[in-house]
Each structure stands twice: as structure tokens, then as C-alpha cells.
């Protein structure tokens, strides 16, 4: 990351960036920043601005020009020591970071399909559902209930598989989701770009409707009620004890196994995301990644160059799907409850808006997009809701228009307007910044060299009929 010595920001900001990029300044600045924000969050675990500033410290460490080894050490300290301690003090932060990791993986997977290969997949959440239901069915008591009507049979207390098979199912989820991706891809990949979007949308709905209705003739998914309880892998007692003896004084109290699971799933998600990021970077720079981009830019030319278009498209589908499958397994275990409503169309669009926001084909973009959308969704919208309800309770009167704030409709709850948020992100990004917040490096190279020549394609369909 040594190349990023200067950031393109004008005026006073440019001078600040120059100042903190010189010599040993980056080390001092980032250490101070991390320490200060950490202390702030530590002392005030409920403060949203403190938490956001703390998260931005991670971005700062990533952006500032420093020795890679030191960056790595700082990142390890932040993720393995600081976040667990702060997260245990306020579990909702751990949840947010867990979700960011989860959605980063989804966004990275969708990024391969949409960003690298240029196929718009609107049913991406289906693969997530496949992974989640895979572990939900095998990791719960569902297989004993196949012939009972949902909600009637009492839980037996006996599980079909031991809890630690979860680790095996992470790999199974990867394989099964990839297989489903190939199965879906085989018939639909001949379909044109914009049709593909609708077909994949339909596929996503098919999976959801099936999850909703496969409680008969055999009760496989338990219908709309969803499957619960789903097992979590066991945590050995010495790990929990170890945590409590080492970190207990810092947190201020000892924690139970239930709380420790939050930490466990955060670390697991982080580990998987790091592996996925590594895989995506390697893929991006490989022959496969270049083939994907070639297909995105011009399918015909790519085929003429000897790229097997169908094979590489299938590969993109399978790789993208497999990431979602893994995260699905993780989701099922961490939530212990899965229902079809977790996998509706809005989730697919949410992941799409993360990819679009970050920048199509951009790996850091997908992660930043996931982080921004999750934070907007879970923290900012909720915060606005809270603020509005406080305003309502205050009963203040706005003087000029004589409007009593307690009359503010209780229906106006920003936390419920996720669709509007996603919609706005998509529209605004498409109109004003198609390349995203962090444009892909490859795209940046292209746009810096030559501006691509616009050749409008002549439309040929005919309205009206002479037939």
C-alpha cells in the first residue's frame, strides 16, 4: 500500500494529509488516533460517534503509508484485543462488526459475479439461504420431525449431529452452494445481461418460496416458522476460563458462555473474511480474474481470444455462491434460528447496494460498502429513530409553524425505511459516481490512460406489430 502516499483531497485537507503522511508521522498519528478512540469507546460504551470514529481508525491504519509489518501488528492488536474488549462491554458493537464481516463476505462474493464478470445477480441471497438451511436442517432436530406438522412435535432434546460437525459443514456449505450456483448457471448463462438479472431474481424468490412451503409433504424446512434451535459448536471450558482470567479485569466482569459466543462468531467471521479477501485478491490477479474482466468488457472479443465464456461464467457463479454458502452456515449457527424471511429480495438488494456503493470490481470497495451500509442500517437509522422518539416525547413546539413535536407521527420510524436507503444508494451512485467510493484499481488504470469511446448500440426491437 506504499503507493497511496497522497490522497486526492483539495486545500487544507491536502495539507493535513501531506503532514500526516511524512516520515514517522503516520505511526504517531495512527497510534494516537487508535488509542484516543479506544479510550473514548471504553469510557462511553453507548456513544455512537465514538464507535464510528473508532471504526474509522481501522480505515486510517489501512490508508496511511506505513511499513506493512507494523500495519499488520496494529491490525492484529485492534481486531484481537481491542475489539473483543470493547465489544464485550457493549455487545451491540460486536454484533455490528460481526454483521460487517458477514456482509463483507457476501459483497465480495457478489462482487465477483457483478463486478468482475458483469452479470447482474439479483437472487444472490438464495445461496446464502442454501448454506443457512444446510446447517439448519442437519444441525438441529429437524430431521427427526420430517413427518410431523410444523409446531406440533415436541423437541426431543436430541440432535441429529454432534455440534462440532459445524466446522465440517462450513466446507460442505461452500461446496453445496457452489454446486447450486453451477446448477442455476448452466441453464441461465446463455441469457442476455438484463434478462439474467430477472431470472436470478426469480431464482431467489423460488428458493424463498420453497423454504416457506417445504413443510409438506415432508417437513423439511418447518415452513414460515423457521428452524430452531440450531446447534453452535462447543467452546471448551478452558478457553472461556482463559479469557476471563486474562481479559476479565479489563472488561470489568467475567462473562458467560452465551456472551462468549458473540466473540467466537466475530472471530470466526473475521477469519473467514480474511481468507476470502486473500482468495479474491489472488483470483483477481490470476488468469481467471483477467478472463472474468475480459468477459465483462466484451463477451464476443473474450470468446475470440480463446476464453471459454460459459466455463468462466460458471466459475464466477460458483465462487460467488460458495462465499455466500459459507456465511449462511455461519449465520445459522450464530443466530440459532433461521426463517425464510431472512432471505427475501431486500437482502439481495442490500448486498447489491454494498457492492455498488463501494465500487464494482473493487475489493476494498466491497468491504467499505458493506461497512457503510451495515452501519447506516443498524446504527444511523436506529439512532435517528431514537432521536425522533425523544423529540416526540419532549413535546417541544416549533415556534414559526406552531407544530408540536409530540404530534409527529409515530409511523415515521427511520429504522423501517431500509428500502428507501438502499434505493437512494443505488440511484445516487448510478447517477453521480458509477465507479463507486473506492474505484477498482483496474478501472482506475483504464480511465487514467484513455477515455473509452462511447458507441451507442443501435436499438433494434420494434414497438407495435406488423406481424
Amino acid at each position: 500500500m506504499q503507493a497511496k502516499t497522497s490522497l486526492p483531497v483539495p486545500g487544507i485537507l491536502a495539507r493535513i494529509t501531506q503532514f500526516i503522511s511524512k516520515g514517522s508521522m503516520p505511526y504517531i498519528v495512527s497510534t494516537l488516533y487508535v488509542l484516543l478512540t479506544t479510550l473514548w469507546v471504553y469510557n462511553d460504551p453507548r456513544s455512537l460517534p465514538a464507535f464510528l470514529l473508532f471504526l474509522s481508525s481501522i480505515a486510517l491504519v489501512y490508508v496511511l503509508p506505513m511499513d506493512k509489518r507494523i500495519k499488520l501488528v496494529m491490525a492484529l492488536i485492534i481486531t484481537l484485543i481491542i475489539i473483543p474488549i470493547l465489544g464485550i462491554r457493549n455487545i451491540s458493537y460486536l454484533e455490528v462488526i460481526f454483521q460487517i464481516s458477514l456482509f463483507s463476505a457476501l459483497a465480495l462474493g457478489l462482487n465477483i459475479v457483478v463486478g468482475f464478470t458483469g452479470m447482474l445477480n439479483l437472487g444472490y441471497v438464495a445461496f446464502y439461504a442454501v448454506g443457512a438451511y444446510l446447517w439448519a436442517i442437519f444441525g438441529s432436530q429437524q430431521l427427526f420431525l420430517l413427518h410431523s406438522i410444523p409446531g406440533t412435535a415436541p423437541p426431543t432434546g436430541v440432535f441429529f449431529l454432534p455440534p462440532d460437525t459445524f466446522y465440517l459443514f462450513i466446507f460442505l456449505g461452500l461446496g453445496v452452494a457452489a454446486g447450486v450456483g453451477i446448477l442455476l448457471g448452466l441453464p441461465v448463462l446463455r441469457v442476455r445481461g438484463d434478462y439474467l438479472a430477472i431470472v436470478t431474481l426469480g431464482f431467489g424468490e423460488v428458493i424463498r418460496v420453497m423454504a416457506n412451503n417445504l413443510d409438506k409433504p415432508i417437513n423439511l424446512t418447518n415452513g414460515p416458522q423457521g428452524i430452531t434451535p440450531i446447534q453452535r459448536p462447543t467452546i471448551p471450558a478452558f478457553v472461556l476460563d482463559g479469557w476471563n482470567t486474562i481479559f476479565g479485569p479489563l472488561v470489568g466482569r467475567t462473562i458467560s458462555e452465551g456472551e462468549f459466543y458473540n466473540l467466537f462468531f466475530y472471530l470466526l467471521a473475521l477469519l473467514i473474511v480474511i481468507i476470502i479477501i486473500y482468495a479474491v485478491i489472488r483470483l483477481d490477479n490470476s488468469k481467471i480474474g483477467r478472463a472474468w474482466v475480459a468477459i465483462r468488457e466484451d463477451e464476443l472479443a473474450a470468446a475470440a481470444m480463446g476464453i471459454s465464456v460459459v466455463r468462466y461464467k460458471l466459475m464466477a457463479f460458483a465462487v460467488g455462491a460458495s462465499f455466500a454458502g459459507v456465511m449462511g452456515v455461519l449465520l445459522a449457527a450464530s443466530r440459532t434460528f433461521i426463517s425464510p424471511e431472512s432471505f427475501n429480495f431486500m437482502q439481495s438488494i442490500g448486498v447489491l447496494s454494498m457492492v455498488i456503493l463501494g465500487g464494482l470490481g473493487s475489493i476494498p470497495g466491497a468491504i467499505v460498502g458493506a461497512a457503510v451500509v451495515v452501519i447506516l442500517n443498524n446504527q444511523v437509522l436506529q439512532g435517528l429513530s431514537l432521536w425522533l422518539s425523544e423529540l416526540r416525547q419532549s413535546g417541544m413546539v416549533i415556534p414559526l409553524i406552531n407544530f408540536n413535536l409530540s404530534d409527529l407521527s409515530a409511523q415515521l420510524d427511520p429504522a423501517k425505511y431500509q428500502r428507501m436507503l438502499f434505493g437512494l444508494i443505488l440511484i445516487l451512485m448510478m447517477i453521480y459516481r458509477q465507479e463507486g467510493l473506492i474505484p477498482a484499481r483496474r478501472r482506475k488504470r483504464e480511465t487514467n490512460n484513455v477515455a473509452p469511446v462511447e458507441t451507442p448500440t443501435p436499438p433494434s426491437s420494434i414497438t407495435g406489430t406488423e406481424a
Partner: protein, 403 residues
């Protein structure tokens, strides 16, 4: 219409008017009739054949156990009602599909937000009727007056939807007209999501409710008996709701009107010209932007009318109501050959009938294992099959692959 000064004038008025009526009115009417009869016959024949083949099997016995009639009688008994329901649904789909197909024909782009344009039409129409009902106007109105108010509500829905479609085009699509294909599509998805919550916000702020129910007025809910006879031991009975007749009538009127507009009038000629080549059309003095706006206006207005008709038929609406009808109408448009108005009509009727058939018979033919809830999947299954085996649709011409 200032645009088409360079187009050749018809030689004489009389043959042109005659041609206009045959081309713009009689032909679409004939097509509608043929499509309905053919689809109905084929589907019924297939179904009856299936029922006959299944006589005496476990499925038949299950039917006798649950419904006290054997499977053939069950099929025949329900057939007339299912056919009529299918036709009504088909007309609704066709009316929505026209909006997709017109925009696709002109801009080569899937107007994803059309489903919300449809929902806006439904909401405006229903809110107008609710307001009238609260004012006591609907209860007081005589029968003709009630019909008049319904037409007024439909027109209000059309106006709102048409204007919204034009606004959406102006804000979210026009700046992206020469961008790569996926860009306006993503923008359209964004608009769709934005509008869903915008409708919800307006509704919850003004009425505080999520679901709205169309007031019952006039004689729309009463049923007109068509026939009630016996075929052997099977009772055959058919009655049609007045509102179903209204839906059919209004839809036919719109379909024929649109056909006339596109195939006969100067504006239609300009639309077809823009669809063929925007550059050439602009060289011929056609204001392309204006024609595209008008296309959105017409498509949106049709979608809005379909929304009010949908609300009339199914009574309950909510802000997310547009999603499934919109998707199915898109399927219908693709099935018929997108960009082709007759195709949208055929696709709508076929899909409407298929879905109603599936909803009515799935349960009995699978012994209750898979019920009507799978009819939503059916549309997607059909869409995938059509796109794989005949991507240009039933009536479409082969179109070369574009990037």
C-alpha cells in the same frame, strides 16, 4: 404533435381511415379473441386429458375422499370459473406488461420501477374512492354514478402513474441513457425500492395504515349468473362478478386504444421510429426526448389503470403490492416477445390463465402436497424456460445478442 412533418401524407382520407379502423381496432380485437380461445382450449384440453389419464389412480381416490367427486368431475366442474378468472387476471397482466414492453421497445431497458408505478396507480385510485366514500358520495350514487366514480378513480390513477413514470424517467434514467446496459437497470431497481418505501411513508403519515381496502360500492361485488346446467351428473355453474366484467372491459379498451395509438396515429409512427433508431428519428425531425417521455407517460398510465383494476378485483392493497404482479407482467412481456405489443397481450393472457389453472388444480393433482402457493414459482419457471428455448418470445423475431 410537431414531430413528423417529413413523413409521407396518406393519399386520400377515406381508405386511410378504413385501414386505421381495421388495423387499429378490429385486428387487436380479433387477436384478443383468438388468444383467449386458443389458450383456453389448449389448457383445458391438456387438463382434461390429464384428469382422464389419472382416473382410478391414487390421486383420483384422494380426490374422491376429500371432495366427494372423482377427478374428472372436479376438473370439469371448476373449469368455467377458472377460465374466466384466468382471463381477468390475464388482462391485468397484459395491461401491466404493455408498460414494460413499450419502454423496452423504445429504450431497450427493463423499467424495473414499473411495478411501483402500478402500485401508485392502485393507491391513488383506492384513496380517491375512499375519500369519495367518506364524503358519502359513493353510497348516494346511483348505479351509473358509481360507474362514473370508478372511471374517475381509474383516470386519477392513470394520471398519477403516468406523471410519476415521466418524473422517474427524467430524474433517474435520462442521465444514464448512453451508459452501459446494467447502469440504468441498477438505477431502476433503486427507484423501485425507493418508491416502495415512499408509498409506505406517505400512506403511514397520512392514514397510519399499511393495508388499504377498496370501499365496496355500486354493484361491483354482485355476481351475474351466466349458466347453471348439468352435464351428466356433474353440475356446471358459472357466474361472473360485475367487477370482473369491468376489468375485462377496461383492459380491452386500453389494449385496443394503445394498438390504435401505436399503429395508426402519427404519434405511434414517431414512437416506432424512435424504437428503430433514435439517431435517424431525430434526423427526421422527431423530438426523441419528448417521444421517450410520452412513451413513459403512456406506459405508466396503462400501469396505473391496471393498478386500479387490480385493486378493484382483489380489494386489498399494500405498498409492496407491485412486486409480484410486476414481475409476472414482465414474464408475460418476455414470453410474448418483449418490445412487441401483441406479444405482451398474448403473454399476459397465457400467463394469467396458467397461473389460475395452477392455483386451482395444483393441490388436487398433487394430492395436496403442493398447493396454490407454488403458482408464483410457476411464472419464474416459465420465464426461465422461455428465455432458454425461445429468448425472443412467442411472437418476437430473432434479435441478435447485444453486449
Amino acid at each position: 404533435m410537431q414531430q413528423t412533418t417529413t413523413l409521407p401524407k396518406p393519399v386520400t382520407a377515406a381508405p386511410s381511415a378504413f385501414k386505421g379502423i381495421t388495423q387499429g381496432v378490429l385486428r387487436p380485437l380479433g387477436q384478443i379473441l383468438i388468444f383467449i380461445v386458443a389458450t383456453g382450449l389448449i389448457l383445458s384440453a391438456f387438463l382434461l386429458l390429464l384428469a382422464f389419464l389419472l382416473r382410478g389412480t391414487a390421486i383420483d381416490q384422494a380426490a374422491i375422499r376429500n371432495n366427494n367427486v372423482d377427478i374428472v368431475s372436479y376438473t370439469v366442474m371448476n373449469l368455467p370459473q377458472v377460465l374466466v378468472d384466468g382471463i381477468v387476471l390475464g388482462f391485468v397482466y397484459a395491461a401491466i406488461a404493455l408498460g414494460y414492453t413499450m419502454v423496452y421497445g423504445v429504450l431497450e431497458f427493463i423499467n424495473f420501477a414499473h411495478s411501483e408505478i402500478f402500485a401508485i396507480g392502485a393507491f391513488v385510485g383506492v384513496e380517491v374512492l375512499i375519500a369519495l366514500n367518506n364524503g358519502g358520495m359513493l353510497a348516494a350514487a346511483p348505479l351509473l354514478g358509481a360507474y362514473g366514480w370508478l372511471i374517475f378513480a381509474i383516470l386519477a390513477g392513470m394520471a398519477a402513474s403516468g406523471l410519476m413514470a415521466v418524473t422517474v424517467e427524467r430524474i433517474a434514467y435520462r442521465p444514464l441513457r448512453h451508459a452501459p446496459r446494467l447502469v440504468p437497470l441498477i438505477s431502476a431497481i433503486g427507484v423501485s425500492f425507493f418508491l416502495q418505501d415512499a408509498i409506505r411513508m406517505v400512506e403511514s403519515l397520512t392514514t397510519g395504515q399499511f393495508n388499504r381496502i377498496i370501499p365496496s360500492f355500486g354493484n361491483f361485488d354482485s355476481r351475474i349468473p351466466i349458466f347453471n346446467t348439468h352435464l351428466g351428473i356433474t353440475a356446471l355453474k358459472l357466474d361472473v362478478e360485475v367487477k370482473s366484467l369491468w376489468v375485462m372491459g377496461a383492459a380491452i379498451l386500453m389494449l385496443v386504444g394503445l394498438n390504435y395509438l401505436v399503429n395508426v396515429t402519427k404519434l405511434g409512427k414517431a414512437i416506432r421510429a424512435v424504437a428503430q433508431s433514435q439517431t435517424s428519428a431525430s434526423l427526421m425531425g422527431i423530438n426523441v426526448n419528448r417521444i421517450i417521455s410520452l412513451t413513459f407517460l403512456i406506459g405508466g398510465a396503462l400501469g396505473g389503470a391496471a393498478g386500479v383494476l387490480y385493486a378493484l378485483k382483489f380489494t386489498r392493497i399494500d405498498p409492496f403490492i407491485g412486486f409480484f404482479p410486476g414481475l409476472k407482467a414482465f414474464t408475460a412481456a418476455v414470453m410474448g416477445g418483449i418490445g412487441n405489443i401483441t406479444g405482451a397481450l398474448l403473454g399476459g393472457i397465457v400467463l394469467g390463465m396458467l397461473e389460475t389453472f395452477a392455483g386451482a388444480y395444483f393441490s388436487i393433482f398433487t394430492m395436496g402436497a403442493a398447493g396454490a402457493e407454488y403458482k408464483d414459482i410457476l411464472a419464474f419457471g416459465i420465464l426461465i424456460l422461455v428465455l432458454i428455448f425461445r429468448p425472443s418470445g412467442l411472437l418476437g423475431e430473432q434479435v441478435g445478442q447485444k453486449a
